[in-house]
């Protein structure tokens, strides 16, 4: 029997190499294999024969690991590669493609900068259009990488063209309040427009929506890392060259925008090709920050509940609150995308519920104060946008809190929580699109 034991151990080691198969899966398959061997042995086969038959019945390991990868997308998210059976693996590098698109984005922002005479002059159209100088290139990069057909290329381009027209044809008055709002919401709309080519020309699949959420989180991490490195580089450059009389400012005018915009595509490429690196980082980061945010939110909710939010309430604080709520939601979403869905409810899920519930309390207080303010002072574009955003967040947080409570008490599967969030994503898009397209005319472009 020792011979068979060592054969099973070898087989185990081989199965465990597949990236989507984890230790518990191997245990499960191992138990199956032993059951099969025992039964075949009882039927009169020798140990060796029984092992061979059992392994054969288990199936070809490549197909098996692909099947596991299909189900456990989160464990390795090369699913977009795996979805095509005839094409087992695209060379994951593709750095040249990425470089071309990064250079194109870097050049585009320079053209825009020169046309606008930035930084001597800061025309409003530059601010309004800024995301249009980078996100179309990112969309193009993904459309190429996913090898979309012509029809899907057109569908990818359509929202960008439409948005460019809307943003530039509207007759904004000078010093308009809707203009900065449009500038703030446009990147959100365009980022979601990016989801279409990212998901390979489909938008209905909830699993792929979750992949896109995960991509967004990883992209932010990579971009932050690149930005940090870039900051250090520029700082040192200034310190080294200033003494010999070089006009560093002039250099920065060229390097900074191109670097920042090109980095957006480089970060996307890093997420795509170096997935395993972040795969290990993502759960750690969410584990680290979810409790910290939970503590901060709970204290904030308690403090404001005692002191009342209305007294301290002004425009700036409102912005801070909205930013905080958006960050909390992003953290929740990202944590969800990094979570292994089949795990039972644990401590992290409880902590997360605490964070969501506190955010909900804060949101309700902000909304109350805001409604009172609108009652007193009337509706302005800023207040309308903030009110809408808070309502959209309120519904999302309330749903998330309710479902995680049911999940924690074991009444529903985690899958339902995921579904809630992935089904809710279009609502964010609609809201941001409404601010971009409907709000300016509603307030007569003031």
């Amino acid at each position: 029997m020792d011979g068979v034991e060592s054969q099973i151990a070898e087989w185990r080691a081989y199965v465990a190499k597949a990236p989507a198969v984890n230790g518990r899966d191997v245990d499960e398959l191992d138990a199956h294999l032993r059951d099969q061997i025992a039964e075949l042995g009882a039927a009169g086969l020798t140990a060796d024969e029984a092992f061979l038959v059992a392994v054969k019945r288990m199936g070809d390991l490549d197909t098996l690991s692909r099947e596991f990868a299909r189900e456990h997308r989160g464990r390795l998210w090369k699913q977009l590669v795996l979805s095509d059976e005839d094409e087992p693996a695209r060379p994951s590098s593709g750095w040249f493609e990425a470089l071309v698109f990064a250079l194109a984005a870097a050049a585009a922002i320079q053209v825009a900068r020169l046309a606008a005479h930035f930084p001597d002059d800061e025309p409003a159209w530059l601010l309004r259009n800024i995301s249009l100088f980078v996100l179309p290139f990112l969309a193009g990069y993904f459309a190429r990488r996913r090898q979309l057909d012509t029809r899907r290329w057109l569908l990818t381009a359509a929202p960008f063209v439409l948005v460019a027209l809307v943003v530039n044809l509207y007759p904004y008055r000078a010093g308009s309040a809707t203009e900065p709002l449009v500038a703030a919401h446009l990147p959100v709309v365009l980022w979601f427009a990016l989801a279409y080519p990212y998901m390979g020309g489909t938008i209905r699949s909830h699993e792929r929506r979750m992949d896109f959420v995960r991509f967004t989180g990883e992209w932010v991490i990579y971009y932050a890392l690149i930005a940090l490195g870039g900051g250090v580089l520029l700082g040192l450059t200034a310190l080294i060259f200033e003494p010999i009389g070089t006009d560093v400012e002039q250099v920065f005018e060229w390097v900074l925008p191109s670097g920042a915009f090109g980095a957006a595509i480089v970060a996307a490429w890093l997420v795509e090709s170096k997935q395993q690196v972040v795969e290990n980082m993502a759960p750690v980061l969410t584990m680290l920050f979810t409790p910290l945010f939970a503590v901060m939110l709970t204290v904030a909710a308690a403090t404001y509940a005692v002191s009342g939010v209305a007294g301290a309430f002004d425009r700036e604080l409102l912005g801070v609150f909205d930013a905080l709520l958006v960050v909390v939601l992003a953290l929740v979403l990202y944590a969800m995308s990094a979570r292994e869905p089949s795990l039972p409810a644990g401590l992290v899920d409880r902590v997360q519920l605490l964070a969501v519930a506190s955010a909900l309390v804060l949101d309700v207080m902000v909304l109350g104060a805001m409604v009172a303010r609108i009652g007193d002072l009337g509706l302005t574009p800023n207040r309308a946008a903030a009110l809408g955003l808070n309502l959209v967040l309120l519904v999302n947080l309330a749903g998330a809190a309710w479902l995680s409570m049911r999940f924690l008490t074991g009444r529903i599967a985690f899958h339902r929580l995921e579904r809630w969030q992935t089904s809710y994503l279009p609502i964010f898009v609609f809201w941001a699109a409404a601010v971009v397209a409907a709000l300016p005319p509603l307030f007569a472009f003031t």
Binding site: D27, E28, A31, H32, R57, G59, F68, P341
Partner: protein, 119 residues
């Protein structure tokens, strides 16, 4: 007779849910049951059952637990949930409709026996 691959794939979920509907079980026993029920005609590649079970788990149709029965090896047991029963009922409705439609068409048709004889 070799049952068509697509048909095997389509019937896998209702079969597993229905077997679990009769009581909790583990992978190897589920496969044995499928072989028995189909008289050995329905051949699955053993390993493929597990990604399927994990999918049902993620959808909340089954729950799972590692357990070591007395005088047995440690195994992962699966049990159906209420959501799983609802899904099973829905699958049942669909399959009954399909088989009824096919049965109506095939009942009394002349060419079928010859076709079967050739096969």
């Amino acid at each position: 007779m070799n049952i068509n691959k697509d048909l095997v794939a389509a019937s896998a979920t209702p079969l597993v849910l229905a077997i679990l509907g009769q009581g909790e079980s583990y992978g190897y026993a589920i496969l044995k049951r499928v072989r028995e029920l189909s008289g050995g005609e329905l051949e699955w590649t053993d390993g493929m059952l597990y990604p399927l079970l994990h999918r049902l788990l993620r959808l909340g149709y089954v729950t799972t637990e590692w357990r070591t029965p007395p005088e047995g090896r440690r195994r992962r047991y699966y049990a159906i949930t209420d959501d799983g029963r609802a899904a099973l009922a829905e699958q049942q409705r669909q399959w009954v409709t399909v088989t009824r439609a096919l049965g109506d068409l095939w009942r009394g048709s002349v060419w079928l026996p010859t076709a079967l004889a050739e096969a």
